[in-house]
């Protein structure tokens, strides 16, 4: 019986029927997706559509990591959070929203800040990692951890009226450090909380991140490895460009990589990037 072999219950067959009709996805794609586990780091502007669409489409298990609480001025872009959850943990709010649209999906709440001390343990439980964070040190940390654990990383970013998306450490492609061996000067590191972002811009990038994660999980299409998608909202132009491959000199994934789990756990990402992982300690901007 094909149905049982593929692990799809009659309930799943009915719910995902529009997926099963797709020649390029079908029972095999849904079955793989339903057996996959995906970690979403950050339950903010990017993480909102990522988690909602992974849940709707039927990922087997979704983990969400975040230590923030929901604030009113997040809600212009973080559509996963209801006003009723203001003041509560983002991971609880996000997991609750995912459960309410698909009770078949397993949700794991990691209500803590991802750090070099817990990242290896948390990421090791998942097949695919989605970087939906909002800061530079976290991006280096997550990439290094994915290289150490050999996990594909779907990385998105959005600021102002622009967005970027790529898949790191997949199909022999580069990691974050291959592209950016040296961190940019601090003055170049703008955050949404400082510089603003149009709410729907992370929506576009987050949906595309969910798509890349689904493609990797179900083994369909060509994921954005060694390519980057660049989105300009004002002109509605989106280009997909070819980027460099893996660097032989990369300290994380290169031929003589000297990064081990031990060095990772002691690495000071905030010092390395001269930039904080959390903006809780920063002064709030007032208009």
């Amino acid at each position: 019986n094909v149905v049982i072999d593929n692990g799809l219950t009659p309930e799943m067959i009915y719910r995902y029927s529009r997926h099963l009709l797709l020649p390029n996805f079908g029972v095999e794609g849904q079955s793989k997706l339903s057996k996959s586990s995906i970690l979403v780091v950050g339950a903010g502007g990017l993480g909102s559509p990522v988690a909602l669409y992974l849940a709707a489409c039927g990922a087997g298990c979704i983990g969400i990591v975040d230590s923030d609480i929901v604030e009113i001025n997040n809600l212009h872009r973080q559509i996963i959070h209801k006003e009723a959850f203001v003041g509560q943990a983002k991971v609880k709010s996000a997991a609750d929203a995912c459960r309410s649209i698909n009770s078949l999906v397993k949700l794991v709440e990691h209500n803590e800040a991802l750090s070099p001390t817990n990242a290896l343990e948390i990421l090791s439980k998942y097949d695919i990692v989605v970087d939906a964070t909002d800061n530079l040190p976290s991006r280096y940390m997550i990439s290094d951890c994915c290289v150490l654990l050999d996990k594909p990383l779907v990385s998105g970013a959005a600021l102002g009226l622009e967005g970027q998306l790529t898949v790191y450490h997949h199909n022999g492609g580069p990691c974050y450090r291959c592209l950016f061996p040296t961190p940019p000067p601090t003055a170049a590191c703008q955050r949404c909380s400082d510089s603003g972002v149009l709410g729907v811009v992370p929506g576009v990038i987050g949906c595309l991140q969910a798509l890349e994660a689904i493609k990797i999980a179900s083994a369909i299409g060509e994921p954005l490895a060694e390519r980057m998608l660049i989105f300009d909202a004002l002109s509605s132009r989106i280009r997909t460009v070819k980027i460099r491959g893996k660097s032989a000199q990369c300290i994380a994934c290169g031929e003589n990589a000297r990064f081990t789990k031990e060095t990772f756990q002691c690495f000071d990402y905030e010092e390395f990037t001269q930039s904080p992982m959390s903006d809780k300690t920063r002064p709030k901007l007032n208009l």
Binding site: A158, L159, G160, E162, Q164, P184, A187
Partner: protein, 99 residues
């Protein structure tokens, strides 16, 4: 040589918030071709209006800037030694970290 230069990810703020620049750049005197190394110098002198240190470091772009020649990372075409051709599109984009 007619080139299209595009700036994104915040780099446009260094050139009066104009993202797309249609420019005409000649090879250095005595040279028969234009390479990226020369183009960077030309851009610094002619296009960048403020905080040049946010665009360049030494004779290359600063860390965190991706350079694309015809939608392809310049690391694949020779980096500073990439030879430019008529009507090439050169994109400078600062990597984003927000979400």
């Amino acid at each position: 040589m007619q080139l299209t230069l595009e700036f994104g990810g915040g780099l446009e703020l260094l050139c009066e918030s104009i993202k797309i620049h249609e420019v005409d750049v000649s090879p250095k005197s005595g040279e028969d071709k234009l390479i990226m190394r020369d183009l960077l110098g030309w851009i610094k002198a002619n296009i960048i209006k403020e905080r040049p240190e946010m665009f360049m470091k030494g004779d290359s772009v600063r860390p965190g800037v991706l350079v694309l020649v015809n939608d392809c990372d310049w690391e694949l075409s020779g980096n500073l030694d990439t030879t430019l051709e008529e009507k090439d599109v050169v994109v400078f984009i600062s990597t984003l970290h927000g979400g």
